[in-house]
C-alpha cells in the first residue's frame, strides 16, 4: 500500500508529461506532417482495398483474427473520409498534444492526447513497438491527470472536469494553492504504473532476446554495425586482423545490453543504481538511433526510465536550469516533507 498510495510531490508526473508531450509532438510532426494521406489515408501505402483483400486472404488461409496481419484497431481517423478532414484532424491533434504538454486543461487534453496516440497508431501495417511505449505513457498520464486533485475539498466543478487552466510549467502545479506543491496519491500511482509497466517491458524484451542465437552468441550488435547494402564483404572482412579483440568487444556490449535489460527490475528502484539506469537508457537511445535507425524507441524508453527519478531529484535538477525562479532553487535546497518514491518502500 505504501508503494502505491503514498502521496508524493507531483513534479515527476509533470516532467513526464512535458517530456512525453514533446516526444509526441516530434513523432506527429516528423512522421505524419506531409505524409498523412500516405500513412493513414484511405488511398495510402496500405489502402482500404488492401484491408479488404487481407481479410479475404486471411479467411482463405484459415487464419484467426489474432494471426491475420492486417486487422486494424479503432481510430477516430476512420471518420475522416477526405483529405481536408484528415488534415483538420491532424492539426487539431497537434494542437491537443501541444496544449497537454503545456499543461492546459490537462484532464481533458490528457484524454484527448491518448485518443490521438491510439488513433495514429491504429494502422497495423505500420505497427511498431515504439508506438506502444507512447501508448503506455499517454494512457497512464491520462489516468494520472484525470484523478489528480479530485479529492481536494473546495475544488470548483470546472476544475474537477477540465483540470486547472494552466499547470506546470506555465502555471502552478496542479494542486498549488500557495505556491507549494501538494502531495498527490494520483501522481504516485501514475508514476508507479509507468515504472512497473516499463520494467515488465524491458525485462520481457531482454528474456525474449535470449531466444535468438545471435544474442546468446554475443554477436547481435555485429549486424547493425554491418548492415546489408551498406557493408561489403571486403569491409566486413577487414576486421579479420583484429578479429579476437573486435568480437570480444561485441560480446561485452551485447551481454551488457542483456544484463541491463534482464537485471532492470533489480536496480531500477534503487537510488544508488540511478546512474546505471539513466546511463543505460541514454546509451540505448544513442544505439537505437544511430545503429538501428530507430528514432522513436530510444527517447520513449528514456522517458520511461526518468519516471524512476524522485521528486527531490527533479527539484535539484530543475534548480540547475537558468530560467528557474529563485524560489524553486530555494525550495530544492530545503529538505522536503514530501515523500520521494525511494522513501516509501520502493523495492517492495
Amino acid at each position: 500500500v505504501r508503494f502505491w498510495f503514498t502521496p508524493i510531490d507531483p513534479i515527476g508526473l509533470h516532467v513526464t508529461r512535458l517530456l512525453t508531450g514533446s516526444l509526441l509532438l516530434a513523432w506527429l510532426l516528423l512522421t505524419f506532417a506531409g505524409n498523412l494521406e500516405s500513412l493513414v489515408g484511405l488511398h495510402g501505402w496500405v489502402d482500404s482495398r488492401a484491408f479488404g483483400d487481407a481479410a479475404r486472404l486471411a479467411e482463405s488461409l484459415g487464419l484467426s483474427k489474432e494471426q491475420a496481419p492486417l486487422v486494424p484497431g479503432w481510430s477516430v481517423l476512420y471518420w475522416c473520409n477526405t483529405s481536408t478532414a484528415l488534415a483538420v484532424a491532424f492539426w487539431a491533434s497537434v494542437a491537443v498534444v501541444a496544449l497537454f504538454t503545456l499543461g492546459f486543461c490537462s484532464r481533458v487534453t490528457g484524454v484527448l492526447t491518448w485518443i490521438v496516440v491510439a488513433s495514429f497508431t491504429a494502422n497495423p501495417a505500420l505497427e511498431y513497438e515504439g508506438d506502444l511505449l507512447l501508448l503506455i505513457l499517454s494512457f497512464y498520464l491520462m489516468i494520472g491527470y484525470l484523478l489528480m486533485g479530485q479529492r481536494r475539498p473546495g475544488t470548483p466543478w470546472s476544475n474537477r472536469l477540465f483540470g486547472p487552466l494552466l499547470a506546470w510549467p506555465l502555471g502552478p502545479s496542479l494542486q498549488d494553492g500557495d505556491g507549494e506543491p501538494r502531495p498527490s496519491v494520483a501522481a504516485n500511482v501514475t508514476l508507479r504504473l509507468v515504472q512497473v509497466h516499463f520494467a515488465l517491458v524491458i525485462f520481457t524484451s531482454g528474456l525474449h532476446k535470449l531466444q535468438f542465437g545471435d544474442w546468446w552468441a554475443g554477436v547481435a550488435l555485429w549486424f547493425p554495425l554491418h548492415p546489408p547494402f551498406r557493408t561489403t564483404l571486403a569491409e566486413a572482412m577487414a576486421n579479420k586482423a583484429h578479429a579476437d579483440t573486435y568480437l570480444s568487444l561485441l560480446n561485452i556490449a551485447t551481454y551488457a545490453t542483456l544484463a541491463w535489460q534482464i537485471g532492470f527490475p533489480l536496480f531500477a528502484w534503487r537510488p544508488r543504481w540511478r546512474p546505471v539506469l539513466m546511463g543505460g537508457a541514454i546509451v540505448g537511445w544513442i544505439g537505437s538511433a544511430f545503429l538501428w535507425g530507430l528514432p522513436l524507441i530510444g527517447p520513449a524508453m528514456l522517458i520511461g526510465c526518468t519516471s524512476f527519478v524522485s521528486p527531490d531529484g527533479w527539484r535539484r535538477a530543475l534548480a540547475w536550469l537558468p530560467r528557474r525562479t529563485s524560489r524553486e532553487a530555494a525550495r530544492s535546497n530545503q529538505p522536503s516533507g514530501i515523500k520521494s518514491p525511494e522513501s516509501v518502500g520502493a523495492v517492495s
Binding site: L39, P183, K240
Partner: protein, 244 residues
C-alpha cells in the same frame, strides 16, 4: 524532513485503497499474463509446428485479459520484432512506374533514402513481409482437377538473366529435384497496394516491381578461410508488372 506548506489531500479512505488495489492488480495482471502467453521461441515442436504458448497463461489471457487490453491498445506481448532483427536480410523495393505505352516515367525506391528517419523507418516496416520467401512444396501425389475445374497453380522463383523471375506452373510441375521458394500472397497484397498508391500519386498506368535482397553478412566471415563466391551478394527478384 520538514515543511509542507500545503496539506496533502485528505487521507484516502480504506475502500478507495481497496478499489485502487484491485484495479491495479487486474490491470498489471492482464499485462503480465499477456506477456507470459506469448508463443515460445522461433523453434518448432517435434511435429514441425510452432511451439504453443504456455497453456494456463494463454487460457487466462483469453478469458480475462484479451478483451480488456485490446480496446486500450496494450495487447502486445512485448516479444518485439526488434529482438529478432539482427540477422534478418536487407530488403528494398524498386517500383518502375510506366505510362500506358510502357514508357518508364519514374522510379521510386522504398524505403526512400532521402526521407527523414521517422518516415524511412515507417517505410521499412512495410518491407518486413518481403524478407522471407515461402517454400513451395510439390504434392505428395499427383493432383487431378475436379470436373470443370483446373489444377491449382503456384508461383516460384527461377533465375533468369541475373534476376529471379516468377514462374507459374500447375502444382504437379513443382520441381522435385531441388527446393524452390516463392513470394507469399501477403507480399503481393502489399506490393499491389503500394503500386496503387504510387500510380495515383505519379499518374502512372502500371508499375514493375523489383525486390532487392541481401543476406546479412555474418560474423563467421572473420574466422573463415574462404567465403563462397556469391555469398552475401545482392539478389534482385522481379515481381512483374502490376496494373492498379
Amino acid at each position: 524532513m520538514s515543511q509542507i506548506a500545503s496539506p496533502p489531500d485528505p487521507r484516502i479512505p480504506r475502500w478507495l485503497v481497496w478499489i485502487g488495489s484491485i484495479a491495479i492488480v487486474f490491470h498489471l495482471g492482464a499485462v503480465g499474463v499477456n506477456m507470459l502467453a506469448a508463443q515460445s521461441g522461433p523453434w518448432a515442436d517435434n511435429y514441425g509446428r510452432p511451439t504453443s504458448p504456455p497453456f494456463l497463461a494463454s487460457r487466462i489471457h483469453e478469458a480475462f485479459g484479451a478483451d480488456y487490453l485490446k480496446p486500450i491498445r496494450m495487447n502486445l506481448n512485448y516479444h518485439v520484432l526488434a529482438n529478432r532483427l539482427p540477422a534478418t536480410p536487407g530488403v528494398y523495393l524498386e517500383f518502375r512506374l510506366k505510362d500506358e505505352t510502357g514508357h518508364e516515367i519514374a522510379t521510386v525506391r522504398v524505403p526512400d533514402e532521402t526521407a527523414n528517419p521517422w518516415v524511412r523507418h515507417r517505410q521499412s516496416l512495410l518491407l518486413d513481409i518481403f524478407t522471407e520467401d515461402v517454400q513451395v512444396l510439390p504434392p505428395q501425389s499427383e493432383v487431378i482437377a475436379a470436373p470443370g475445374r483446373e489444377v491449382p497453380t503456384v508461383q516460384f522463383w527461377e533465375m533468369d538473366k541475373g534476376q529471379l523471375r516468377l514462374r507459374t506452373v500447375d502444382i504437379n510441375q513443382v520441381p522435385r529435384d531441388r527446393p524452390v521458394s516463392g513470394p507469399s500472397p501477403w507480399m503481393f497484397l502489399f506490393a499491389r497496394s503500394y503500386t496503387r498508391y504510387l500510380c495515383h500519386v505519379h499518374g502512372a498506368a502500371k508499375a514493375e516491381i523489383l525486390r532487392h535482397h541481401q543476406d546479412a553478412i555474418r560474423p563467421y566471415v572473420l574466422d573463415a578461410e574462404t567465403v563462397p563466391a556469391g555469398a552475401f551478394q545482392e539478389v534482385t527478384s522481379n515481381f512483374g508488372e502490376h496494373v492498379p
